[in-house]
């Protein structure tokens, strides 16, 4: 991904977030605060055209959970609070088998449907009870419960633990 493309995409996202609310919004409310996550692709529920945009309040309303685990990128045990990936995918009526998640720093990774399960990864917005800034891998970070399930202690899963997440595209 060239930096030009990255810039273009970033501009697009920013444009969408600041643009007028599309009428295609269905069960999802309109985001009132800053949009921090946009889901597009094979989804049934949208609130901004073909996309489902979420601000922090909307994510908090989806039934957050808190997990406790260590990670290889932090020191000591941490608590992470966020929306389980499976809840989010249900909320947007995802129909694909895989989703492509992209970060602010343009890091991108695919997460297969197998991971959208109860006890699976969450999209965390609180680390040790505090919101995460971009400098602290915020605002959203896909965290797997590494300590609870050793199957998640693999390079592949580590690579799926994307931080500074802001876009998800559900593939057909």
């Amino acid at each position: 991904m060239t930096s030009l493309t990255r810039l273009a995409l970033t501009s697009l996202v920013l444009t969408c977030a600041l643009g007028p609310v599309p009428a295609a919004a269905q069960a999802l409310p309109e985001p009132e605060g800053e949009v921090i996550l946009t889901v597009t692709g094979a989804i049934e529920t949208t609130n901004e055209g073909d996309a489902a945009a979420f601000d922090l309040d909307m994510l908090e309303a989806l039934g957050p959970v808190t997990i406790r685990t260590t990670t290889i990128w932090t020191e000591g045990e941490q608590t992470f609070t966020g929306v389980p990936l499976v809840t989010l995918m249900e909320a947007v009526g995802a129909e694909g088998d895989v989703l492509s998640a992209t970060a602010i720093n343009d890091y991108a990774v695919e997460i297969p449907r197998d991971d959208w399960v109860e006890g699976g990864p969450i999209i965390a917005y609180l680390n040790n009870g505090s919101p995460m800034s971009v400098r602290d891998k915020g605002p959203l970070w896909v965290v797997y419960p590494f300590d609870d399930n050793t199957e998640y202690q693999t390079e592949v899963v580590y690579s799926r633990s994307i931080w500074q997440l802001d876009r998800i595209v559900v593939a057909e």
């Binding site: 930096s3 810039l7 970033t10 260590t70 990670t71 290889i72 990128w73 932090t74 020191e75 602010i104 720093n105 890091y107 800034s133 971009v134 400098r135 602290d136 891998k137 050793t150 202690q153 693999t154 390079e155 580590y158 690579s159 931080w163 500074q164």
Partner: protein, 867 residues
């Protein structure tokens, strides 16, 4: 048949040790594999829980994101609307650096100074820049050129940082690869070991397999051999299960019992093979073990019984039964052998043996009786010859008489030898233990043989070698007989020489005494030394004819010495002389006070008796005759003996006697008939007083005696004083008729009578008399006790014994025999009375021998005469 033998134990032991080796090997392999597995699992675990992100990518991103920040700064300088992009890029770079600084996976790297120094520079820049970025846009915009310059200056640091990180990670990877390589190598080694172990295991299993195959072959062979053994056995072999049902039999069993094999299988062994009357016995005894399901006791495994065949023939069977068991089943194996023929042979043998023994015994008894019976007439002959000397004889007649006497004595000697031998063979001789003095014994021997020695011109003497001994315990009679024999031989084979008897105590623990009879006679050749103690051994027949002898003497001596527990031997040099020695264990008598000898008060008053009465003694019993004669001669009378009534009558018709002592019960002619004959005749003694001598002087009998013409009666045992006074009365013309009162209580031995007799005839004669008496009564009482009550000659036989007993003072015996004699007259003898004689005689004999022993100890009497 046990298949476990000593040879099989050794291989079994090696098998065990081999098994233990295999087991050890297996355990080793398993533990190695387990250890290895653990190692590998850990490794896998390490690999599976990757603790690193895509590190190189992260490090590369540092560069990329730094460049993006730089680009954003440069663009923002041209276009201020791009300030948020600068902020975003700064935040992203900041976040990346935070991750490198705080993340667990980068911990190792942070300790590397090459990495840490540039990192610190970058951190300083970030910390310094944060206020600008977070500050108002105007300030940020103003600071953009400075920031761009600072970022440009940091480029080298960022590059160093990412390179150092990469190097560090490369080293980490190398280490990790090495670790994996080591693990794999160890695993390979373990696998090789495992393979080796498995190969060994396979080898050992192969060996085990071959071993068990060999063993199986052995077992098959053994089985086949056993089958052959069982089938070729002559004995019937029956195998039953634990309930006693037959499960197998061999061919011999089929032949023995006559059942086809198929018929035997499944039937009860006990009920099929044994007759009904034997079954309960077997069930309770020999086969009880089978019923109780245990092994028969060792002493019950072989036994004899009776078996029965199919057609009902019973036969004696020898059986051997035992239980064999293994894990799967229990069987009883019985061998049955038909021993009919053996039994028959055994019975035949037993019968033959019994017959032979009976014959032998009869022969020995015949010999004993004959010898005994021959002595009586011989004594008669010798006595008569002595009497002949009282008649006027020519010199020629005297010479002939001497020869007759010498021949008679020789004959008597032979008869005595044979009697001794036969008694010995019949087991009737036993050695006694009574105190006697060796000194007196040897004095007696010398005294007895002195005249014979003198007649051959021999000097005869004895002496102690070493300290003289005192009284000892032993059988003086047997010892004397042996010594007399040895001295007699020495005298016979020595002419004009010396005969020395040496006596020596060899008291090394067993208190033996050795007697040596040393002569200077003809000696014995070496080759003959072994033979001379055999029976009927006469070395030089011509010489022995000259010297006389049966050849039994030394044989008897050997037996007697053996009887006393001693030894006999000889050393000799032909022409120099012989040395016969005997060694007899003789314990010394402990010192004890010598009782004062009781003087018998029954000695009469000989001075008052007119001497010179001529007395005819008619008595069939030799001992009684001998005793009476001694008594009469001691009183100074002249005695003529007649052995029965007829002889008495003949004497009475031939000569005048002053008195006749007439026994009543006699063979040929009894006393009453004889008295009548004498009175009826006209001989010189027809009016001589006749005194009846009887053991059973009952009043009505005394009346009969008077009717027969007898003048008086004295009872047996003849009391010396009574006899003396009766004869005194006769000499004065009176007739003494007073039967001796019967004693109320009947002691075993009337000691007064015994002492009286002993005082009369002297200790030497007394001892001899007792010997002879005991010999005779032993035989006579044994014969009587075994007799059937109805035998007609019981009376006379009891009478003869009673007479002897009375003489010696055996009152109880005499009384018992008297009762039998009386009862025999009416034929009312009871078997009990006869049988009771045996024990009574034994007690009486003991009392007699005891009294005689005491008497000889008291007086120290020994000696006598013998052959």
């Amino acid at each position: 048949m046990s298949t476990t033998t000593a040879q099989e134990i050794a291989p079994r032991r090696t098998l065990w040790s081999r098994l233990s080796v295999v087991v050890t090997l297996l355990v080793f392999c398993f533990s190695t594999v387990a250890g290895m597995g653990w190692l590998v699992l850990r490794e896998i675990d390490d690999l599976s829980t990757a603790n690193s992100d895509n590190l190189q990518w992260s490090l590369a991103q540092v560069d990329v994101e730094f460049l993006q920040l730089e680009v954003a700064l440069l663009e923002a300088e041209r276009d201020p609307s791009l300030l948020p992009v600068v902020r975003r890029r700064f935040d992203i770079f900041y976040s990346r650096m935070s991750t490198l600084e705080r993340g667990e996976v980068f911990r190792d790297m942070r300790e590397n100074p090459d990495y840490d120094a540039p990192r610190a520079n970058v951190r300083d820049f970030l910390d310094a820049t944060v206020p600008l970025i977070d500050g108002p846009p105007e300030d940020l915009r103003a600071a953009l050129p400075d920031l761009a310059r600072e970022v440009g200056a940091l480029t080298d640091d960022v590059r160093e940082l990412s390179l150092a990180g990469l190097t560090s990670f490369a080293e980490l990877s190398d280490a990790r690869r090495d670790e994996v390589t080591t693990t794999l190598l160890v695993m390979a080694a373990v696998l090789a070991l495992l393979l080796a172990g498995l190969s060994l295991l396979a080898l050992s299993f192969r060996r085990l397999y071959r071993l068990s195959e060999l063993r199986a072959r052995d077992l098959r062979q053994t089985g086949a051999r056993m089958q052959t053994i069982v089938e070729t056995s002559v004995d019937a072999i029956v195998v039953s299960d634990k309930t006693g049902r037959i499960v197998d039999v061999n061919g011999a069993a089929v032949c023995t019992f006559g059942y086809p094999k198929s018929e035997l299988i499944g039937r009860s062994a006990l009920e099929t093979l044994f007759p009904a009357d034997i079954q309960p016995i077997l069930r309770d005894d020999a086969m009880a073990a089978v019923a109780e399901g245990r092994r028969p006791r060792a002493d019950r495994r072989v036994f004899e019984s009776v078996a029965v065949t199919r057609d009902g023939r019973r036969f004696p069977a020898e059986m051997s039964i035992d239980r064999a068991e293994d894990e799967s089943e229990v069987v009883y194996v019985a061998f049955v052998r038909d021993i009919s023929r053996r039994k028959a042979a055994e019975e035949g043998l037993t019968e033959a043996r019994d017959k032979a023994l009976a014959g032998e015994k009869a022969k020995a008894e015949f010999l004993a009786v004959m010898s005994h019976e021959m002595r009586t007439p011989l004594n008669g002959l010798l006595g008569t010859m002595q009497l002949m000397r009282d008649h006027d004889l020519t010199e020629r007649q005297t010479e002939l008489l001497d020869r007759m006497v010498s021949s008679g004595r020789l004959l008597l000697g032979l008869v005595n030898d044979v009697l001794d031998l036969s008694k010995f063979e019949a087991g009737k001789l036993t050695a006694e233990r009574r105190p006697f003095e060796i000194q007196r014994l040897l004095d007696g021997v010398i005294e007895t043989t002195a005249s014979l020695a003198a007649s051959n011109g021999n000097a005869l003497s004895w002496q102690w070698v070493g300290p003289p001994g005192r009284a000892v315990l032993g059988d003086s009679r047997l010892l004397r007989q042996v010594l007399l024999n040895l001295v007699g031989n020495a005298v016979k084979f020595t002419r004009g020489g010396t005969i020395d008897i040496e006596v020596e105590q060899i008291g090394d623990g067993d208190n033996s005494i050795e007697f040596r009879v040393i002569d200077s006679g003809v000696g014995i050749a070496d080759g003959n030394l072994d033979r001379i103690f055999n029976d009927f051994e006469t070395l030089d027949s011509s010489y022995s004819r000259q010297t006389g002898g049966t050849g039994l003497g030394l044989g008897i001596a050997r037996r007697l010495v053996g009887l006393m527990g001693g030894e006999i031997g000889v050393e000799s040099e032909l022409g120099e002389g012989s040395l016969f020695w005997i060694r007899i264990p003789l314990d010394p008598v402990e010192d004890r006070p010598t009782p004062i000898p009781a003087r018998d008060a029954t000695a009469g008053e000989p001075s008052e008796t007119p001497p010179g009465l001529s007395v005819l003694l008619v008595e069939d019993n030799e001992i009684n005759r001998f005793v009476a004669r001694e008594m009469l001669e001691a009183e100074g009378h002249v005695v003529t003996e007649a052995v029965n009534g007829r002889a008495g009558v003949e004497w009475a018709e031939a000569r005048h006697f002053d008195a006749i002592l007439m026994d009543i019960s006699m063979p040929v002619m009894d006393g009453q008939d004889a008295a009548r004959a004498i009175r009826a005749g006209a001989g010189p003694s027809a009016t001589t007083p006749i005194i009846a001598v009887t053991a059973h002087a009952l009043p009505d009998e005394i009346a009969k005696f008077r009717a027969a013409g007898m003048d008086g009666c004295i009872s047996k045992p003849v009391d010396r004083a009574l006899l003396a006074s009766t004869l005194r009365d006769l000499a004065r013309g009176g007739h003494g008729i007073e039967p001796a009162p019967s004693p109320d209580s009947v002691p075993l031995l009337d000691e007064a009578q015994f002492d009286s007799l002993r005082a009369t005839i002297g200790p030497a004669h007394m001892a001899e008399l007792i010997d002879r008496f005991v010999d005779e009564l032993d035989a006579a009482i044994a014969a009587l006790a075994a007799e059937r009550p109805g035998k007609p000659d019981l009376g006379p036989r009891a009478h003869r014994c009673a007479g002897s007993c009375a003489t010696l003072g055996l009152a109880a015996m005499r009384s018992a025999l008297g009762r039998i004699e009386t009862a025999a007259r009416t034929g009312a003898v009871s078997a009990d009375d006869l049988i009771a004689l045996g024990p009574l005689w034994r007690r009486s004999r003991a009392a007699l021998v005891d009294r005689a022993g005491r008497a000889s100890a008291e007086h120290g009497e020994g000696g006598g005469e013998s052959d």
